[in-house]
Amino acid sequence: MSKNNVGVDIPDSILNQYDYKPYAGAKLGNPVSQRVAPQVRAQFGENKVVNSIADVVKAEVKDGMTISFHHHLREGDQVFNEVMQVIIDQGIKDLTLAPSSLTNVMNDMVVKAIKAGTVTHITSSGMRGSLGDAVSHGALKSPVIFRSHGGRARAIETGKIKIDVAFLGVPNSDAEGNANGMTGDAAFGSLGYALMDAKYANKVVLLTDNLVDYPNTPASINQTQVDYVVKVAQVGDPDKIGSGATRFTKDPKELKIAQMVNDVITHSQYFKDGFSFQTGSGGAALAVTRYLRQSMLDKGIKASFALGGITKPTTDLLAEGLVKKVMDVQDFDKGAANSMHTNPAQQEIDASWYADPFNKGAMVDKLDVVILSALQIDTDFNVNVLTGSDGVLRGAVGGHQDAATAKLTIISAPLVRGRLATIVPKMTSITTPGESIDVVVTEIGIAINPRRKDLIDALSHIPGVPVFTIQELAAKAEAIVGKPKAIEYTDRPVALVEYRDGSLIDVINQVKD
């Protein structure tokens, strides 16, 4: 048994069997790593266009291989289910599934592939719904490996994830495989996560419903990387890829939280001309962007860049000149996707450039302020974004661990959700270490990480922003909802949670029925 740096006991058998070191801290030093390169089969202008997924699968996918997908089509994705069904039908076994993440629309197909023996290993950013439920109850023999977006980029570059065949849905491509995410019925904007697969997979298969004239520009994925272009009827349902218009929340609790988050930002030393920020896509995070806009106008402050998953409120700031650049790894709504097409100051970045801790400098390292969410926060400021309070998988690491390394990391979360406390003495799993978290903002007030004496001085006297210790917030939550019964687990691991550097931050066990 080894205790890692967030106090989790990790059995030596797991460290040895899966070749892990226990998580040792968020400061990584300057690690030196060796990159790997994909195998390349040269082509000289032969026809890459095929009409049948089945032909490609038959030619390229073999038992025991690692296959990948991206999740930029989100809940509108039609590529994943179509390809997986073909793979199941061909009786292929023992695959490792290594997508950038898994969305709800893929859940039932993954469960089916597990039952058929087609998929026996999974690595992902997250999982939820029927799939999370199945895995948490022991559907897979091998534990799922969860990695952040930066962690996946690192794992691909260093060969921990060795993709044999990548199936990448794109809203446009020419016959040679020059493609981008910006035009076509299924346009989704940045191809940020898929660019890793296009660069490092041995075989790259593009699937598109929109074959355009050669050469297709601007090309995010280009023909030097692509083996096949498959013409399909539809890669995604445009209505489900991203919400059309982002609505401004009217929930008074979310607005209160957003207002306090804005107060925390504007009273910190980081709110000055040229600052940088990242926000998520939740209701409170979107509202923060609105409040922040007004504060920037009032103080005459402009941001140098906004980073990460992008929404329309952020691209509105770009159009208004309040943000100079948007560095875009994925787009959460149509407004943000359209803006990338029309505004050259909105730069598409891949997952490595965004957040990889093992490259020569990722953009998260230059980030001043980030606002992130949480399913649970413990009294050491550790955050869980993977498991529900019932211990079942229902979330994703996403860029949480990566962006949390910003200079001011704010977690915005309601004190309680229904009958569930958000701030608890002990969480069901740890995703992001408390060492990275600086301020927790709830509707009743904030808690400042005692490690940050400077922030305690700067943020303790903001009018209308009560300051509590994190223990006080946990006690207030428990006073409302009552003391929950502890979740019971078996001793069988169903998921391993990597920190962004590939060390082991937590082990999630199967829940008892």
């Binding site: 309070s389 019932d390 211990g391 959700r417 229904g418 009958r419 569930l420 409302i480 909802v481 009552g482 929950p484 019964k485 979740i487």
Partner: protein, 97 residues
Amino acid sequence: MEIKKTALAGTLESSDIQITLSPATAGGIQIDLDSAVASQYGDEIKKVITDTLTGFKIDNALVKAVDKGALDCVIKARTIAAAQRALEQTEPAWEVL
């Protein structure tokens, strides 16, 4: 006290609980609980319902409880409302409150 008729109180909105009481002649208070937080709070929810019904001197009842994350005060209020409807009481039962 005998339950006279099946009665219901509460909605299926978030943070509410819907309690349906039906007559039973024996078997005590039997609760069929449907809740997303059953693993953490199931015992507590059942205890609040049982205690509240006992306050009305109801010994036998079939209870269907569909919980959407209600707090104890809500569970108690909905149980009281369902009990009074089931017992056809129109005056508030002050001793139970």
